[in-house]
């Protein structure tokens, strides 16, 4: 209602330039709740957390500052170091493999195959399951007593060993398998949407020039799909940093501390150890890690475009 009124009113006062701040008023009013949520809850909550990470709060927050003590303890804790390493392993591999597998599946799906809908549904189906369910299912599948190992042993190969969840060196890869199974379907769908967005004329042109299909994908199609890749990257990356439920359902951090992740450290210390200060310090470190990666990237990505 307000929009026609403003546009109608504009020509009347031609001499004064309309105030920038009052343009698109209705849109701005509509976004006030979201702005407030973002400022008060996200930014406010973040600042509050960072502030209290410098206190020795136990079960309840209290204002008695101890400087960097919580951070010193955090970085001296073997469990935290282990969590960071695990997050690194999980992050790198899940990024590479979900993009790779997702793109390959999408490219195969794009070959005008029969029953595409059926295949798409099958591949996307795991994504409909929560991480908890995924974790439990894969905990059973990978359990040596009644999972893959026992099936293969019952077929006669009795020396077969496959128990990644009970091997401290392999446990993160066991978790990775479940994460990929759950997540690649979505990546595939995003990639497929990107591939469908490529104009058919480009394919025709490259075929006329005699460029092999793989080269067309690698040097023409993928660069054109840049926005899709960036969206996918953000979705995968945010999933990596907050990984928690999958680990809890599959191994609850075990064996020992071999599959601990930072988010679990935060939760355990905030609530189980009743040490808010330590939990806040850990979550501040998580925020910092994300910021170190995101800020330069966002600057290059968005700042650069504005200038150009």
């Amino acid at each position: 209602m307000t929009i026609p009124a403003t546009t109608a009113g504009t020509p009347a006062r031609k001499s004064t330039r309309p105030n920038q701040y009052f343009r698109n008023m209705s849109a701005k009013i509509a976004s006030i709740p979201m702005i407030l949520t973002a400022v008060v809850i996200f930014a406010g909550g973040t600042l509050w957390t960072v502030l209290y990470s410098f206190t020795n709060s136990r079960l309840l927050p209290r204002m008695s500052f101890v400087g960097f003590d919580q951070y010193e303890r955090l970085w001296a804790a073997p469990r935290w170091t282990m969590s960071i390493i695990n997050l690194g392993i999980y992050g790198i591999f899940s990024l590479i493999f979900s993009l790779l597998i997702g793109f390959l599946l999408a490219a195969l799906m794009d070959q005008k195959i029969r029953f595409e809908n059926t295949f798409r549904t099958i591949f996307l189906y795991p994504f409909a399951l929560s991480f908890i369910v995924t974790g439990l299912v894969w905990q059973w599948i990978l359990n040596p007593e009644f999972g893959i190992q026992s099936v293969i042993r019952s077929l006669g190969w009795t020396s077969f060993r496959f128990d990644p969840l009970y091997n401290p060196d392999l446990v993160m890869y066991g978790i990775l398998i479940a994460a990929l199974w759950q997540g690649t379907g979505l990546v595939m769908c995003l990639m497929l949407a990107g591939l469908r967005g490529i104009d058919g004329e480009i394919w025709k042109a490259s075929r006329i020039d005699g460029i092999p299909a793989w080269k067309t994908y690698l040097f023409i199609v993928i660069p054109m799909m840049r926005p899709v890749f960036i969206t996918t990257l953000v979705i995968i990356a945010s999933g990596i940093v907050k990984v928690y439920d999958l680990v809890v359902a599959q191994t609850s951090g075990g064996p020992g501390i071999a599959s601990e992740v930072p988010a679990k450290y935060v939760y355990d210390y905030m609530f189980q150890a009743q040490n808010l200060g330590q939990g806040f310090a850990a979550s501040t470190m998580m925020l910092l890690t994300v910021a170190i990666i995101i800020i330069p990237w966002a600057y290059l990505e968005f700042g650069g475009r504005k200038r150009g």
């Binding site: 079960l59 007593e145 009970y166 064996p255 939760y267 009743q274």
Partner: protein, 411 residues
């Protein structure tokens, strides 16, 4: 785990229709969800419903580590339940100090808790600045070694009488394809096992010097090194028990797939549900057969401060019911724990619990680690021991150094 959950739902289903018309509903949260535990909760609920109120069961599956954060955030978040389970000790200390919990001193004086509760340290653990804030419900001791008689028969060795014999019998068990020591993957189990070794093999004075006085010389000394040596043995014996929950580990012992398990007396409830008989099907060694000494941890009910008067009244009734002699007997027989009152008749109990009652009567009791150490220290200890017990490379010496530095950081 699954059967426990089902039993809890069943218990809740049985309880709900019993509510009288003018009953006050009181939600009680707890983490008693294994088979034996759920059966015991049903007894409490029955007794409370008999008073004309209604027990609304708030069972949270997945042991204390999962349940406590939910309980605490409900209390601090302004959505308190009627009553909640915690362990004796320091878990609710800060909630009380923040004024979120109800003072039960009036109920306690009227019911003469001071005279009937034994050992007195249980009520001390509930007392903060002279006021009583919780109602102890049972005594649980950690210091038990449960042994499967069938497993030792299969392996062709005598059922051990103490820890050293058990360690010596391990190779024979392994040869017969039996895991000598069942140990679940949850962190608190490894840490608890170590504390049992410390008290049972190290003795009472050593235990207090290490955990009570936090004496550095003791923590870094040769006595502690001996305990870590035993933990190293335990680590080797526990290899191959690929289970998570404690009751799954107990189940390995019940079915004879494992030789033994170091676990608190709550494991007894599982043996009972499986219709096993103490002495013939399984054996128990309090204090690992070395120092028959038990720690008096256990469960207590805390009552959040509520503004609703009818509910506060129902809280008082529940507190009274919990300590009622008849409830104490019915509950503890099912749970496999010891009653907090010295004046009740537990003659219906089995051999293992009688051993526990004897030790309690003799006064060979110590404070539990939950009472001596804060939740923060306990958690760090859990991290350390779950790492130690799953690792093949961490030496006992390194672990000892790390334990000493964790305990040194205690407030």
């Amino acid at each position: 785990m699954m059967t426990g959950f089902r039993a809890a739902i069943l218990a809740a289903g049985v309880v709900l229709p019993l509510g009288a018309a003018h009953a006050t509903d009181l939600e009680v949260t707890h983490w008693w969800t294994s088979g034996g535990e759920a059966a015991a909760v049903a007894e409490l609920a029955k007794a409370f419903d008999a008073t004309g109120n209604k027990w609304v069961d708030g069972a949270i599956a997945g042991s204390g580590g999962t349940a406590r954060p939910i309980m605490i955030s409900r209390i601090t978040g302004g959505d308190p339940m009627g009553a909640t389970q915690f362990n004796h000790g320091r878990q609710a200390e800060e909630l009380v100090q923040a004024g979120l919990m109800r003072d039960l001193t009036d109920v306690a004086t009227a019911e003469k808790w001071k005279d009937v509760i034994r050992p007195a340290s249980l009520l001390d653990a509930c007392t903060i600045e002279g006021k009583i804030y919780c109602a102890p419900v049972n005594i649980h001791s950690w210091q038990w070694l449960w042994l499967s008689n069938a497993a030792f028969k299969t392996a062709g060795v005598e059922v051990p009488k103490n820890w050293d014999e058990f360690v010596a019998a391990a190779p024979a068990l392994e040869k017969a394809g039996i895991v000598p020591l069942a140990l679940g993957g949850q962190a608190w189990q490894s840490s608890g096992l170590f504390d049992v070794l410390a008290l049972s093999l190290g003795g009472k004075d050593f235990y207090f010097k290490a955990y009570g006085d936090k004496d550095e010389a003791t923590l870094t000394g040769p006595d502690m090194a001996k305990i870590f040596k035993a933990a190293d043995d335990a680590r080797r014996m526990a290899k191959g028990s690929n289970v998570q929950d404690w009751n799954q580990a107990t189940n390995l012992v019940i079915t004879g797939k494992a030789g033994g398990q170091i676990m608190g007396d709550w494991a007894q409830g599982e043996f009972q549900i499986a219709n096993q008989k103490a002495g013939t099907d399984y054996s128990c060694l309090p204090g690992l057969g070395v120092n028959a000494m038990i720690s008096t941890g256990g469960d207590a009910f805390y009552f959040p401060l509520l503004s609703d008067e009818a509910k506060s009244e129902a809280q008082s009734v529940l507190a009274k019911t919990i300590l009622d002699p008849a409830t104490q007997v019915a509950f503890n027989l099912k749970k496999g724990s010891l009653p907090v009152r010295g004046d009740v008749d537990m003659s219906a109990t089995n051999d293992c619990m009688k051993k526990g009652l004897d030790i309690l009567a003799k006064g060979d009791v110590v404070k539990s680690t939950d009472e001596l150490l804060s939740a923060d220290i306990q958690k760090q200890k859990e991290d350390l021991f779950s790492e130690f017990f799953s690792s093949t490379t961490m030496t006992p010496e390194d672990a000892q150094k790390r334990l000493a530095s964790i305990i040194a950081s205690a407030e």
